[in-house]
Amino acid sequence: MTLIAVCQLKGGAGRSTVATNLSVGLDALLIDADPPQWSAAAWGAVRGVDVPAVSNHRELVDRVPLQGWAVVDLPPRFAEMTRAALALADIALIPVTPGVADLWAVEDLLPIITEAKAVNPDLKVRLVWNRLRAFVGSEVELQTQARRDLPIKPLRASLGYRLAYPQAFIEGKSVLEGSNVKARDEMAAMVAEVQRLGRA
């Protein structure tokens, strides 16, 4: 089993976008651990697939499959759920949009990651840049600043600022199944990178 925990303490950074798209790309079981929003489960209902919605860490641990890939969409808080997922996961992905508040929230997450690594030393943690506009100077500068200040490496693949993402979500789809070539290519690159990371 390879478990990917998608976590971020700040809301609106793109946890569900990353989790739903990766679940399609990796053919993974998606678990929604973000009550009471249950966005990923709602996406699953539109898609017509069963996305288990768990409301506590014990339920989450029971739901993690023994084989294959699983992606868990975590709540934006220090909950037992986040701790349990980080203790179990192979990869933790932290979506960030190019805003300083997202990076501050990552800093708040660092102590719990350090604690989790004590019980789960193989945990690999990566930032995922989301809604990135590579041509905006201030956003490029923020990426440089994050690389300098945060002890977490970013994934090489990043997601751009595209309407294709919310559109795909509403339709219960992944951008991998859509017609926006740029969105499809960047998500495919992200899936491939995560697969490599999971096998490493």
Partner: protein, 92 residues
Amino acid sequence: MATKKATTTKKPMSKAAQAVKFAEGEPKGRQPPRGVVRLTVNINAGLHRKFKLAAVSRGQTMGAMLEDWIRDNLADKAVRDARAYLKEKGQF
């Protein structure tokens, strides 16, 4: 030659059980460390609030403040006297 089976005194734990343990942290109702006892007292609610606010404003725990107060206000002589009194009464 028979090989000796490796043994460990540490109880093996599954990754799932370890995750639950990590998530829940220390068990509730944890005993105080060695050499420390738990004190339970009933005091006036308003005083308790003041005490709590004072501890927060000083960046101390209520327990630490109480210990400081006891050290500052109960001279060793008073403690020795009390011990002698209780010994005399056969209660120490």
